[in-house]
Symmetry: C2
Subunit: 298 residues, 2 copies
């Protein structure tokens, strides 16, 4: 499995054959996106969720998405280290993901790795993303269920709106619930959900707001229950198919665009770098430059 | 100017003509990226920097990049509201940016708007990005100078490394310096810069670490000095040309890929949506699907 995911990360062309082999099994796992600002306790919460899901006999895969530096490709091992609780459990597979060298970036590498885990029998794939930037929001939004973690005092409800996470959250978890301000944060989020209630059509999912103290293992079972409720709603409402098609579209597009980006740097005529020099000096406008680039590949 | 930037945001094709008109003037401003986690005081600091730059007679443009929700396209007006200090100053132009509907997203819309501001005579364009996700890091990295804001207790130095901001920062600003832990945060960052010192070649820029209390207007002049020092280094080292070529390449590429994304959804044969349904059901693998997509456009 580790070797397969390494292949997935590298974007090796042989992947097409592997992907074809996986077939319908590869879409069976529930993919849960877990996102939130740095420091809210994502890794600890993920760790506790793994334990709780294992208690119910589920097989679990974890993909810790590491937006590796655009400059050095450096990756931090923190998540891997903290997950050692499960090192000897064959029902748990944990992996830090890196987009390094992948043609389609994390948007393609993450679902591909999730497919490998599903094909290998995982019931749940937890995708932990660092940060709340747009790229991470997008990755989380490609999950079947998106869990947004907040912590009291880490930034108020307005910041959550700013980061665009309100619309994508199926379940809000206010972690570190023993800290001052936890109840206020819960109320803020509930208030914002209530504000959005009039826009929700009947039968739509109303986001849940839960409190946990992951470090003490408190409140985790309620999160698992909410995950299961959401899964049932996804299946009954037809939303599961929609989300999976959305995810597949994003993945196909990311792969196609990644392939094209690679081609842009290998053009025999005016490649991207040549055009960039002209634009940087103000001799050519970028719109005209992009058209020249496209003429050469189509 | 407002109408031009609206055109830029909408990705209107008429832009090519406007961009061509702007010519060499459009690349003269220094673009300063300002990034950091939600809540570190980016808007307040930007506001104070505008004041300080105005005191030295510079014309200043501000682009507040709002990663509008991928789902509703909603934008928050907070930044615009807080910038009312400058509403009557003709030497300051402030604008919230949205990627809504722009073909190349923020990666193309932001430099295009910066070019409009430069063409209109701005000496400095400050690009304030929300969050520290990969997309924001990328936008910041397209600046001539990147300023990373931190606040004591908002997350330690390790979180900064995790978010990939250490490699892109030219100037670190520890804001809210009157809070506990400010000196510890400064030491952590300086420690990490020292660790990286052996990898820096002679003549490379060593990131500065400064303390501010933007709400009190303290420490801002030192930031302006650091910006000016960095600008001189950029010009003397030849790095300015390199960064601008990098920015131009990213912009051209984003425009080209945006155009291709639009084409993917309009294919007469198997468009993206049709292929996504097959992939979602496990009947087709995404690699094969991406190749089918590409065959149709090239």
């Amino acid at each position: 499995m580790a070797r397969l995911i390494t292949l997935v990360e590298s974007g090796d062309r042989a992947l097409s054959e592997i992907a074809a082999e996986l077939g319908p099994d590869s879409v069976k796992a529930v993919v849960v996106g877990i996102t939130g600002s740095p420091g809210v306790g994502k890794s600890t919460t993920t760790n506790e969720l793994v334990k709780a899901l294992r208690r119910t006999g589920k097989r679990v895969g974890v993909l810790a998405v590491d937006p590796s530096s655009p400059f050095t490709g450096g990756a931090i091992l923190g998540d891997r280290v903290r997950m050692q609780d499960h090192a000897t459990d064959p029902g748990v597979y944990i992996r830090s993901m890196s987009s390094r060298g992948h043609l389609g970036g994390l948007a393609a590498a993450t679902p591909a790795a999730a497919r490998v885990l599903a094909g290998a029998g995982c019931d749940y794939v937890l995708v932990e993303t660092v940060g709340v930037g747009q790229a991470e929001v997008e990755i989380a939004s490609l999950a079947d269920t998106t869990l947004v973690l907040l912590a009291p005092g880490m930034g108020d409800a307005i910041q959550a709106v700013k980061a665009g996470i309100l619309e994508i959250a199926d379940i809000f978890v206010v972690n570190k619930s023993d800290r001052d301000g936890a109840d206020a944060t819960v109320r803020d989020i509930q208030g914002m959900i209530a504000l959005g209630a009039s826009e929700r059509e009947p039968g739509q999912w109303r986001p849940r707001v839960l409190k946990t103290s992951a470090a003490k293992g408190e409140g985790i079972d309620a999160v698992v229950e909410a995950l299961e409720d959401h899964r049932r709603w996804l299946e009954q409402s037809g939303e599961l198919d929609k989300r999976r098609q959305h995810r597949a579209a994003a993945e196909i597009e990311a792969l196609a665009l990644g392939e094209l980006r690679a081609r842009f740097t290998e053009l025999p005529g005016e490649d991207l770098q040549t055009l960039a020099v002209e634009v940087a000096e103000g001799r050519l406008d970028p719109y005209a430059a992009s058209m020249r680039l496209l003429e050469q590949i189509s």
